[in-house]
């Protein structure tokens, strides 16, 4: 009886609320919001000035832009060149950087942070700035920025200019992947690295791959190496390269199907200040990846390849794309060939892993095995990075990082905002893929361990952290 009365009063209350909503609906839902946000909060505006004036001002501001970003990086990270002894990336040509590089706030230690609640860390402003979203070197302009090695190689091979007049790449070379990266083919595992230490370009791909790949794969490769107009590299006045440009190719960022740490802003967020930086992801192991795009969760590499012309190339702005000359690959033919080519790219060999993705105890060291145990149990890593599924779970997860920091602070024109759900990335070949996280905010594997130790509240010991890094080097 009492329950019925309570239920009755609740439903009466609900009815009153509903009436309130309906009343509000008359004003808010009437089809006219008096002053919505301006269209350039979503759409790319047309330039208001001629290119020569824009360029002069961009070039004038460039030293200060680079200095500002360098100051932010130095404030957040130790960027020194300190490779691990006896560890190289898979091609054997570049070292793997050692140690935690994210700097602590004054008065904090990693241990003291691990013993605090997210609320305390937030209230005392102790969240390491290196764990915050990393801004683009020039966030308000955004767009693709290539490292010097890629700019030089493509300039030499194709006489195509990937250098912007407004910004340069911001991370030191030793914190980026091996260049050129080795290429391992899933259809020819007997061969090993087929790159010969060279960068694949539109000028050399045929001679390098004929006889190894099928005709449709070679055609897919040609398309992946063909430059097409892009937001900053195109023929119009709205560009950031000196000359009219033929554009960029897919493999300009995904060099040799891996990554050169070229970066961009996510196409999936507006306004501009809220967009997060995107570090180029590796295409290795594409055959096992079921969702694509850090935010969009596209269900096939075909979908992703087709739509990338709207996103990586034009920031998710099909209007701008149409003006600058978008290339829309034909789905049944071109897209299928490009996708098939990407699906032929294997992970680098991991000789200590068994067919189930677990360490072979006869090959792994005691420390590596200890690291695997942490990975599977206390570290909770395997909850998402499932060994027998190429260290993926085909899900997006929200780490709710904003528990640790005040929202809305602006760093170099980027607003520190919640990232929301982001897809799980593979850990196979992970030592080859610095910097880490979707925006490249973490420089080393040791940084990723401290990050997840804090974010997941793991309370790992120093030994356990070391073992985890040793384990990840075997993947």
């Amino acid at each position: 009886m009492m329950q019925n009365v309570a239920a009755g009063s609740r439903s009466l209350w609900r009815a009153r609320l509903l009436a309130g909503f309906v009343a509000m609906g008359v004003t808010a839902g009437g089809g006219t919001v008096a002053d919505p946000l301006p269209p350039d909060a979503t759409y790319r505006p047309l330039p208001t000035l001629p290119l020569d004036v824009v360029r002069r001002n961009d070039e004038g501001a460039k030293p200060a832009v680079q200095r500002r970003q360098q100051n932010l990086l130095n404030e957040r990270y130790d960027l020194a060149d300190r490779p691990m002894q006896g560890v190289k990336m898979s091609g054997g040509r570049k070292g793997v950087q050692d140690g935690v590089r994210v700097k602590l706030r004054s008065g904090a230690t990693w241990e003291s942070l691990a013993n605090m609640t997210p609320e305390e860390i937030k209230a005392k402003d102790l969240f390491p700035a290196g764990f915050l979203p990393l801004p683009h070197v020039k966030h308000l302009t955004g767009g693709q920025v290539f490292p010097e090695n890629q700019i030089k190689a493509i300039g030499d091979a194709e006489d195509r200019n990937l250098k912007r007049f407004d910004v340069d790449f911001d991370l030191p070379d030793h914190l980026t992947p091996e260049f050129p990266a080795p290429i391992f083919l899933s259809n020819r595992p007997d061969l090993g690295d087929v790159s010969g230490g060279k960068l694949l370009t539109i000028r050399n791909y045929y001679a390098m791959m004929v006889g190894i790949l099928t005709p449709v794969q070679i055609e897919g490769l040609r398309l992946l190496l063909t430059p097409f107009p892009q937001e900053e590299f195109n023929q119009t006045e709205d560009r950031k390269v000196a000359e009219q440009s033929d554009g960029v190719a897919c493999l300009d960022c995904h060099q040799n199907f891996h990554s050169n740490a070229a970066f961009h802003l996510t196409p999936d967020v507006r306004p501009q200040t809220a967009r997060f930086r995107l570090d180029t992801t590796s295409l290795r192991g594409m055959f096992n990846q079921q969702i694509h795009g850090s935010k969009r969760s596209l269900r096939s590499v075909e979908d992703f390849t087709e739509f990338e012309q709207r996103t990586a190339y034009f920031n998710g702005d099909h209007v701008s794309a149409t003006r600058k000359g978008v290339h829309l690959p034909d789905r049944p033919n071109q897209v299928a060939m490009m996708a098939q080519m990407q699906n032929m790219i294997d992970f680098p060999p991991a000789p200590k892993l068994d067919p189930m993705g677990r360490l072979d105890p006869t090959k792994a060291s005691a420390k590596e095995l200890a690291g695997e145990k942490i990975f599977m149990e206390k570290g909770k890593c395997a909850a998402c990075h499932i060994p027998q599924e190429s260290f993926l779970d085909h899900q997006m997860h929200d780490l709710k990082l904003e528990r640790f920091y005040k929202q809305g602070l602006v760093f170099n024109d980027q607003v520190a905002m919640p990232d929301g759900p982001i897809k799980t990335f593979t850990l196979r070949g992970i030592k080859d893929s610095p910097p880490y996280l979707h925006d490249g905010r973490l420089m080393t594997l040791a940084d990723t361990v401290e990050f997840f130790n804090l974010v997941l509240g793991l309370k790992l010991t120093a030994d356990e952290k070391d073992s985890l890094v040793a384990y990840m080097l075997t993947l």
Binding site: A19, D40, R68
Partner: protein
């Protein structure tokens, strides 16, 4: 201590994002493609920090309209809200936005932002509805409208930071944004309590 950690940037970070760094950060950050064609100094690639573009003007108008509504609807809620926590929220809105509006108009008046005399039509309609509502219905309607308003203001500030040119106004937006986002969180919390649900609080 390294040289950089003594720089203005370090002060900025340690002060939790309060912008103390001096100099021409507007020109550093902004895309000059969106600069106003009459900006003095642009031909020498040294645009003056006092320069402004259409987005700055529009921002002052929209932000001032929103701010004015915050204060006026807040005063209404101070009188009519039943829940003490909602009245407390209204107190916060009146105090914060009164101060913020003064600052905005001081910075933006010279841009001739073309401000209407009364509230904009949308907020007039909301005011009419709130005038008619009472009790819990009022509290909820007020908080629901506040959530929408603060979502829009947060986006407006971010849009201005994305496209505006005037240095002083950009500083204003940088300083105001965290506060507006905190108001939004506060409103979502109140909503969750009033509706006995989680609402959209993260």
């Amino acid at each position: 201590m390294s040289r950089t950690s003594r720089s203005g940037w370090s002060t900025l970070v340690l002060a939790g994002g309060v912008l103390l760094a001096s100099g021409s950060f507007a020109q550093e950050g902004a895309n000059p493609a969106g600069m106003s064609p009459d900006t003095p100094g642009k031909e020498m690639a040294k645009p003056i920090p006092e320069g402004s573009n259409n987005q700055d003007k529009l921002f002052v108008r929209q932000a001032a309209l929103g701010g004015r509504a915050e204060v006026e609807l807040g005063k209404l809620a101070q009188k009519k809200a039943t829940d003490p926590a909602v009245r407390e929220f209204a107190d916060r809105m009146v105090a914060a936005h009164t101060q913020s509006n003064e600052q905005l108009l001081k910075l933006g008046r010279s841009l001739n932002p073309d401000l209407p005399k009364d509230l904009d039509p949308e907020h007039q309609a909301i005011r009419n509805e709130l005038n008619k509502a009472a009790g819990q219905t009022f509290d909820l309607a007020y908080i629901a409208a506040q959530i929408l308003d603060h979502q829009r203001t947060a986006n407006l500030l971010q849009w201005h930071l994305s496209t505006g040119q005037n240095e002083a106004l950009r500083k204003y937006s940088i300083q105001t944004l965290p506060e507006v986002m905190a108001h939004l969180e506060h409103a979502k919390e109140r909503y969750a309590v009033l509706t006995q649900g989680a609402g959209s609080k993260r």
